[in-house]
Amino acid sequence: MKQISIPDTTKASLDRIAAVNKKLNAIIYLDREKVLKEAEGTRRNVGGIATRGIPIAIKDNICVKDEPTTCASRILKGFKPPYDATVIRKLKNAGFITVGKANMDEFAFGSSCETSCYGPTRNPWNLEMIPGGSSGGSAAAVAAGEVSMALGSDTGGSVRQPAALCGIVGMKPTYGRVSRYGLIAFASSLDQIGPLTANVTDCAALLNVISGHDEMDSTSADLPVPDFTKSLVKNAKKLKIGVPKEYFPEGGIDKEVEKAISKSKDVLKSSGAEIVDISLPNTEYALSCYYIIAPAEASSNLARFDGDQYGLREDAKGTIEMHTKTRTAGFGDEAKRRILLGTYSLSSGYYKAYYLKAMKVRTLIKNDFLQAFKVCDVILTATSPTAAFKIGEKINDPLSMYLSDIFTIPANLAGIPGISVPCGFTKSGLPVGMQFLAKPFDEETLIRTAYTFEQNTDFHKKKPNL
């Protein structure tokens, strides 16, 4: 293999962005000169780290010190955090070159990357289509080769679903595996930062860098981090893969997607895995449960955006009026919808019927998985019930938009890890993704399963024609 210098790799990435980003709108902030200078500096700083010099895009809800971090929202206009998120600190220490901020649904509220104040990101496989969301910019940037890797965040499928729709690999680690310090919170009990990469090998490498206990995050697990690249083994022998019947509802999953999944099962079977039927009986409640808990937490997390200390401020005489004007002008429709929904379900009189009930149902969903993992090592599902849909198709129908996360949400509620890998294409050439789920802190089995599948297929090698 030809050795390419770090500045050259970086320049290639910047050139690719210059060539295709206008079509995609995946990267929303980039300081070309600064990035090039950083790359030069990294070249001189010799070291044996494998990840040195890799260009990586950062979802716009992860704080990078003194660079704009806006969650793709007007309300954070001009905000430059005076600190680095823990994952950014780790990336910098490992010699990554952070190449710009990636587009997203405003505050990660969405599954289509259409609610960004910077306009929608387009799917590299078909520019009429959404790339998925909310980490749509991260997924499109990797799929289009603008960067080698990207960081996203996953609260209900926001890494896995766009990865599936853009034909790349996306992982949501176990809740607590990766520090959330510096990730602008959407729903604190569900959020996890995760890698979006072109293949499983890169996913393992990136996960190695970002994982681990952080004293700045009370909810990060104080557990040893294995070397995930050691799980890059092409071997599915003795692997029991559970297929939950609730994830294949009549009429609830696109026929082409179902077909791709069914073929994938055969690939795994012939690699030595055993496929078993399982049941996750409380699956039907997951979406409802999620749409109580996530907006409730979001309504509180987003209360701080009021124009007092940073971001947008609308002029007004008094503080209540200023807060109200600022928030009304600063938040988009979907953000407002979720804030209203969350405020409603927390307000007195509704707390017990909604929030408390949802926390109990969450226990049921979690227990479903615990039971299932007694009989299998990995669970296999489609990542999304459909391939990418048209821009604008669901934007005025929130409920149908919410349904596109129906297969990814349960993992966030249960806190378990999940990965999406490319597993086929529709007739019209849109990628289809398959999801694997595992026990808490068993990302190793996910990587092994995903790698084995990837090495037995060619889907990850196909690139969009831009």
Binding site: P82, Y175, Y285, G318, T319, R327
Partner: protein, 98 residues
């Protein structure tokens, strides 16, 4: 909870959230929230008798502390770098009209 969210409640919730809505928006959000709540109401079918609530996915996690040690603060200049308005080293905000 089979009752549908009414306009008065939408307005109340908007006020609590410091968001102002036009009459048209109130009507739109009322309809959309009602649809979502109708869907969400299926939770009532789930039998949760005796089920404890999960407020946190990592059950084993408890007693996470930090030591009582003073760490370096940000310089005031850095703390105020994003301030829309400031007066010396204070954040400046419109007065509170109660």
């Amino acid at each position: 909870m089979k009752q549908r969210i009414d306009k008065k409640t939408v307005r109340h919730v908007a006020r609590l959230s410091r968001i102002s809505l036009s009459g048209k928006e109130v009507a739109l959000y009322q309809k959309q929230l009602a649809d979502i709540l109708d869907y969400i109401n299926q939770l009532n079918k789930a039998d949760t008798t005796g089920t404890p609530p999960t407020s946190h996915p990592l059950e084993s996690l408890k007693n996470v502390f930090r030591e009582d040690r003073v760490r370096k603060s940000l310089p005031a200049e850095k703390a105020l770098q994003n301030a829309p308005e400031r007066k010396d080293d204070f954040f400046s905000v419109p007065k509170i009209i109660e």
